[in-house]
Amino acid sequence: MNWEPVIGIEVHVELKTASKMFCGCRVDFGSEPNTNVCPVCLALPGALPVPNEQAIEWIVQIGLALNCTISPQSLFHRKNYFYADLPKNYQISQFDIPVCSGGFLDVVLDGETVRVAINRVHQEEDTGKSIHVGGGGRIHSAEATLLDFNRAGVPLVEVVTEPDIHSPAQARAYAQQLRSVIETLGVSDAKLEEGSMRFDANVSIRPQGDQELGAKVEVKNMNSFRSLERALAYEIVRQTELREDGQRIPQETRHWDEEAGITQGMRSKEGSSDYRYFPEPDLVPIVVSDEQRERIRSTLPELPHERRARYVDFGLDSHAAWVLVSGEDGLAGLFEDAVGLGADPKQVAKWLTGETTAYLRREDATIESRALTAAHLVEMTGMLAAGKLSASAAKEVLTGVLDGEGSPGEVATARDLIQMSDGAAIEVEVDAVLDSNPDALEKIRSGDMKPFGFLVGQVMRATSGKADPKVVNEILRNRASQ
């Protein structure tokens, strides 16, 4: 049987407001534990929440960027569950009327576009952080839990998709492209390593063609795009094996263990959770007027898909355009600057999405930490066009520039990579080769092209590879036709 994976993704995005969602404590992750806390975020008796206006403005931005409907009036609810890092033992969240609902994000994967439907985007608050100590620090053997509430109450926006995703690769592409939207909006640090963006996935499988959804398993604790993809791949295989084996998949929450590369069930005394949602009586409804919504819409920056379309108009293929828009930070900026300075868009895109990206991954570096500038790109692509660099030399030059050895011209000179493209000088070399191989020219003139490549090789050898092969070809053809 063919099994179709059905995946829905919930992404929690921490907003980078100056203060928390419901109190004036600073949002700052470098602080000493429990120093950014107050009666509200510690849930001291008598304290009351007051929502942060900036957070509401930003969730509307996110909703609009994801093509959502903005509710004219929405409500906060209390989501009740006991957990030591949740000070009130309820989370202020949204339930039946979130700020944003019913949107979509077009995801490009391998040149194809898949539309992922967004069910809702809602506003809530983060929990504190637990550290498990004693017994080697592993959760199951911890002897105590230490709690830091600096993160408690940091504004979170939760973006929930419909179960519209059908492969781990799609899930990854969705998550990456969502991150790029959030980043473009500038409303979050959107750093996975720091937990400012976190993913949960609901996974089930069903016989290909079935419409009904299988029992859904919630997978948690994926903290990189790669682990999201791996965890989903693992989970799909696990569920498929169980089903093939005739077993039922229990609805449960599973934890991704990055090191072991497996998902594990969470043992919990509580059966299915019962969050007892009810309208938060300490807060009043949120009303977003048409004017306010349109004002926010008018201030949206150019979104990734719009930018991608513009890059395609520059002549880039959609994959290259996408990599520039959603790839390593800062590439798109360099691209635009270089094109602004007159460089050939396709060439610049090629070097940025190819060699530069490979370099950054290899070195685990950011573009900001490297010396490459737009002017360098203009210079390098100019040298290539003028035949002063071969493609392989250009790679070396680019590496040198990224390593901080200087401008492309300086690196090429220092590393002796400048190509001979001066026709007169190459002619001298060509004629010397022809002089020592008189038969070859005769053969070519009689229509036998076999020695042509040999002659080019000889010239390249004589010039230690620095002659521009294009020019060498041209001169040889000229001589042959004389």
Binding site: A43, L44, P45, G46, L48, R78, A84, Y90
Partner: protein, 487 residues
């Protein structure tokens, strides 16, 4: 020396005939004589009170006058957090807890230079109508110490009635200011929801709770509300408009006003003495020129049921924070879950546990629509009924409670019968409207009877005007007999 009211004392402080220190010592002295029998206070802050009194006297000497509460001894219900003073809400789960901040109402009083005498007893987390549900022992009624003082703000009502404070702060979720005021022969008022910030009030039921004053006179109630009311950016449900002028027509009497007598709030369950005093007062208002009409609140009966779903539902979430993690009591256990479970079972008293269970059930999967959801719709009906009634009358009146103070221990075994005693006061909480209780006499057993005046939202001015007329017409001047011994 004794001053009848805040306004008397305030005038005396300003003409130099008394100092705040003298007033404060008198209040503390009264407490030291009465507390063994009454137990109005959980904490008396002798040192803090005297320091504040001296500071107030220094301010007067320097010609600074921050308002009517400067130098006035005020008792604070112990569910209002006070920086540096133990605040327990009468619960074991908060025994020893010292808050690091002042609630807004307390801060407003302090800003005027009020003297905080201490923290008064209440039903644990304000859940009750008798102040018997305190983890630290019940409070007794000064009119008869075998009787309850009402609740949950019983401690503040008793402190004011007994003279160990001139003004008491209380909180009113279903009548918790008005009913003890009625049972203790003092004035208690619940403002329009949102008029007084709830910041710093340990929440029982957030959509119903309001802080209000317990005073000896209606004039003092106005002065207190003028001090307490106003927008607070720390409370998202705080009213943002201009605070209305509560004194419009204050001394104009009731001529030209229409008084609506609520048909459903009489008859079965209402004591004869209570009914008689109520009727007598209505007649006095009529003689004073008011037009008296009968109005109906058809949803009143079912409103009690709605209240006993909504309040527990909200409390079940509001009290979830008491878990032994960050403050208060902890009963240790091998896991954090067991620690929480043991802490909460040991830290909360039976009435609190009962309401948490009730609210948890009413919100739980499968029951929400039938209970909580339906109760919220009944709430809409209550509001609509009030709106219709206010088309016929400027204010509505009723007894504050169906009975006078009942005997200690007589209802503790029957939660439902205790709940039913709040029938007169609960509707105003559901509607968010203001209401006040004014003493209008004693029953045959010598126990006080309260008369309730209800008004539409932000209708405090007309409510005070009628209450003032009642106060004048009735001229209730008796004091608890036990006080004679010490005066």
């Amino acid at each position: 020396m004794s001053y009848h009211s805040l306004s008397d004392a305030s005038a005396a402080l300003r003409d130099g005939s008394v100092t705040s220190r003298e007033l404060t010592d008198a209040a503390l002295d009264r407490a030291s004589k009465t507390e063994a029998e009454l137990h109005a206070y959980l904490t008396l802050d002798h040192d803090g009170a005297r320091q504040s009194a001296d500071a107030a006297d220094a301010a007067f000497a320097a010609g600074r006058d921050s308002g009517p509460f400067q130098g006035i001894p005020v008792a604070i219900k112990d569910n209002l957090v006070t920086r540096g003073i133990e605040t327990t809400a009468a619960s074991q789960i908060l025994a020893g807890y010292i808050p690091p901040y002042d609630g807004t109402a307390v801060a407003r009083l302090k800003a005027q230079g009020a003297v905080i005498t201490g923290k008064t007893n209440l039903d644990e987390f304000a859940m009750g109508s008798s102040t018997e549900n305190s983890a630290f022992g019940p409070t007794r009624n000064p009119w008869n110490t075998n009787r309850v003082p009402g609740g949950s703000s019983g401690g503040s009502a008793v402190a004011v009635a007994a003279g160990s404070a001139l003004v008491g702060l209380g909180s009113d979720t279903g009548g918790s200011i008005r009913q003890p005021a009625a049972l203790c022969g003092v004035v208690g008022m619940k403002p329009t929801y949102g008029l007084v910030s709830r910041y710093g009030l340990i929440a029982f039921a957030s959509s119903l709770d309001q802080i209000g004053p317990i005073t000896r006179t209606v004039e003092d109630s106005v002065a207190a509300l003028e001090t307490l009311a106003g927008h607070d950016p720390l409370d998202a449900t705080s009213y943002r408009g201009d605070v209305p002028d509560f004194r419009v027509g204050f001394d104009d009497g009731v001529a030209g006003l229409t008084i609506g007598v609520v048909r459903q709030l009489s008859g079965e369950g209402f004591e004869a003495g209570v009914e008689a005093a109520f009727r007598r007062t209505v007649d006095l208002l009529s003689e004073a020129g008011a037009r008296v009409v009968e109005v109906s609140l058809p949803s009143l009966d079912v409103s009690l049921s709605a209240y006993y779903l909504i309040a527990p539902a909200e409390c079940s979430a509001n009290l979830a924070r008491f878990d032994g993690v960050r403050y208060g009591l902890r009963h240790d256990g091998p896991t954090v879950e067991e620690m929480m479970t043991a802490t909460r079972a040991d830290g909360f008293g039976p009435e609190v546990i009962r309401r948490i269970l009730l609210g948890t059930y009413a919100l739980s999967a499968g029951y929400y629509d039938a209970f909580y959801g339906q109760a919220q719709k009944v709430r809409t009906k209550v509001i609509q009924d009030f709106e219709a009634a206010y088309e016929q009358a400027d204010v509505l009146v009723s007894p504050t409670a169906p009975t006078t103070a009942f005997e200690v221990g007589s209802k503790t075994q029957e939660p439902l019968s205790m709940y039913l005693s709040d029938i007169c006061t609960i509707p105003s909480n559901l509607a968010g409207d203001p209401a006040i209780s004014v003493p209008v006499g004693l029953d045959d057993a010598g126990l006080p009877i309260g008369f309730q005046v209800m008004a539409p939202a932000l209708g405090e001015a007309v409510m005070f005007r009628v209450a003032r007329a009642v106060e004048r017409a009735v001229a209730f001047e008796q004091r608890p007999p036990m006080l004679e011994v010490w005066s």
